[in-house]
Subunit: 279 residues, 2 copies
């Protein structure tokens, strides 16, 4: 069987996967999009040689990216999802009945099209009437947004290189903060605890320049190098650890116990941010 | 640079590593032992084409395997370590001042010799006077042990195939239980949550036939396939979640917060054991 060798940035372990079939392989304006079929994971979406999701276990990432701040916020109605062209994050946000509006901002329309074709169980929420698709750069969208009426912003980007870098700057976090309501919350994935700790720390430090409340949690993602994946969240007011609405949605992995347990414990957090513990 | 391609059993992702240098490569009576040098992880110990430890991050595994039951037990004095020929687990057990005796039972003497030569920071505890080395099969050692005077048994085996299988049977767990004091505790690694859930469940079920108290915790190990690694613990009396002695030892990752947080939350545990959640 032929193999796909991942080329993940900064990963000291190279992952490879059996390829039963190459279902799609095209260059978009921004990146190469590949869909393969693997005997274990089912269909897999690959952007610029990095695995983005697999049919079998995408729920770990999408649930953990979405539901932590969505349950820490007391009543999220207006949400911005940046990136996540596959639609998995949008699907999870839509599970929250009080959500009235999602601005779904994806730079690469082709990812949406490919996901609609090959990953219907991931992408089915994209056509929901509450979703407004914006094909543009997420940082630009946030910059143009003048009113502070957003309850939650979720960044679901590729690895923090190339065009995704603009989503991790002080400028971006500042404009983002200014479009949130006083109760508003923000979350982004922030790479692997095992392999990218410098980046995790940098994102935490950058967020702290802008937000009074910043926190960090993790989830295990089998097909992201290092696996022990980090999520950085921030808000103007509310802590992200507290659950302000009883989870009533259907999920496979996320629940209120996982929510609480996913946060990095205080002593470890301190050691990491003080750089007294490195591996 | 040449690459080492891991051949981990049952893993749907293949891991590969850059090889700066092959430092050792020999067949012992039981397995092929390889030591390579990798630019990121430093020296790596490989048995039958499966990575066992890396200089850089072996502490995650050794600390989490050892210190949970060693702190759940109120005063562990006599300990059996089965496998772990590299000496990492023995090193961690020796950090506990009340420990008077360690039976270190390793089937393959060559692993001990290779570790002493190439991994001195891992193996240095092996020559401690409290350590009695037994070169033999762990199951056989336990079977021959007649008195019930052991406080803790730690199984640090290779993957659960081949000769390691004898360490995961009802018979083994029964003879093991009978060499423990009434307060005695047991722990073993039990493969990956992501890739070997059937095995995790099987080990939990087998332990439950033998021990009144059985539990399950996890730790993130970057170089074990699936990464989200599970540890199964059991006892005649004490829960493993409770900490019965304040941790006073020096560790990099393990501490009392990590101890509590590492256990699988109740609802997830129930779903897994009832097989209502699979991935």
């Amino acid at each position: 069987m032929i193999k796909f060798f991942e080329k993940a940035p900064y990963a000291p372990v190279e992952y490879s996967y059996d390829v039963e079939e190459i279902l799609y392989k095209e260059k978009s304006k921004f990146q190469e999009i590949i869909v393969i079929k693997n005997p274990h994971f089912g269909k897999m979406l690959i952007l610029d040689d990095v695995v983005q999701l697999t049919e079998r276990d995408e729920f770990f990432y999408h649930e953990m990216l979405t539901h932590v701040i969505m349950h820490a916020h007391p009543h999220p109605k207006k949400v911005i999802v940046i990136g996540g062209g596959d639609g998995g994050t949008v699907r999870e946000v839509l599970k929250h009945k009080n959500v009235e509006k999602i601005y779904f901002v994806e730079i690469d329309e082709e990812v949406i099209n490919v996901s609609k074709k090959f990953f219907p169980t991931v992408s089915y929420g994209i056509d929901d009437p509450r979703v407004e698709i914006k094909i543009m750069d997420g940082a630009e969208f946030i910059l143009k947004k003048k009113s502070a009426d957003i309850d939650a912003v979720i960044v679901d980007s590729t690895d923090i290189i190339g065009f995704a870098r603009s989503l991790y700057t002080t400028d971006f976090f500042t404009t983002l903060r200014d479009c949130l309501t006083d109760e508003g919350m923000f979350v982004t994935h922030s790479e692997s605890f095992h392999f990218h700790m410098d980046m995790v720390i940098e994102i935490q430090e950058t967020l702290k320049k802008v937000f009074p409340v910043v926190d960090l949690y993790t989830a295990p993602i089998a097909t992201y190098p290092g696996n022990w994946w980090s999520f950085s969240c921030a808000s103007k007011k509310y802590g992200c650890r507290e659950i302000r609405r009883i989870p009533e949605i259907e999920t496979k992995f996320y629940d209120s116990e996982i929510h609480l347990q996913s946060f990095v414990p205080e002593r470890l957090y301190e050691k990491l941010l003080n750089k007294t513990l490195k591996w």
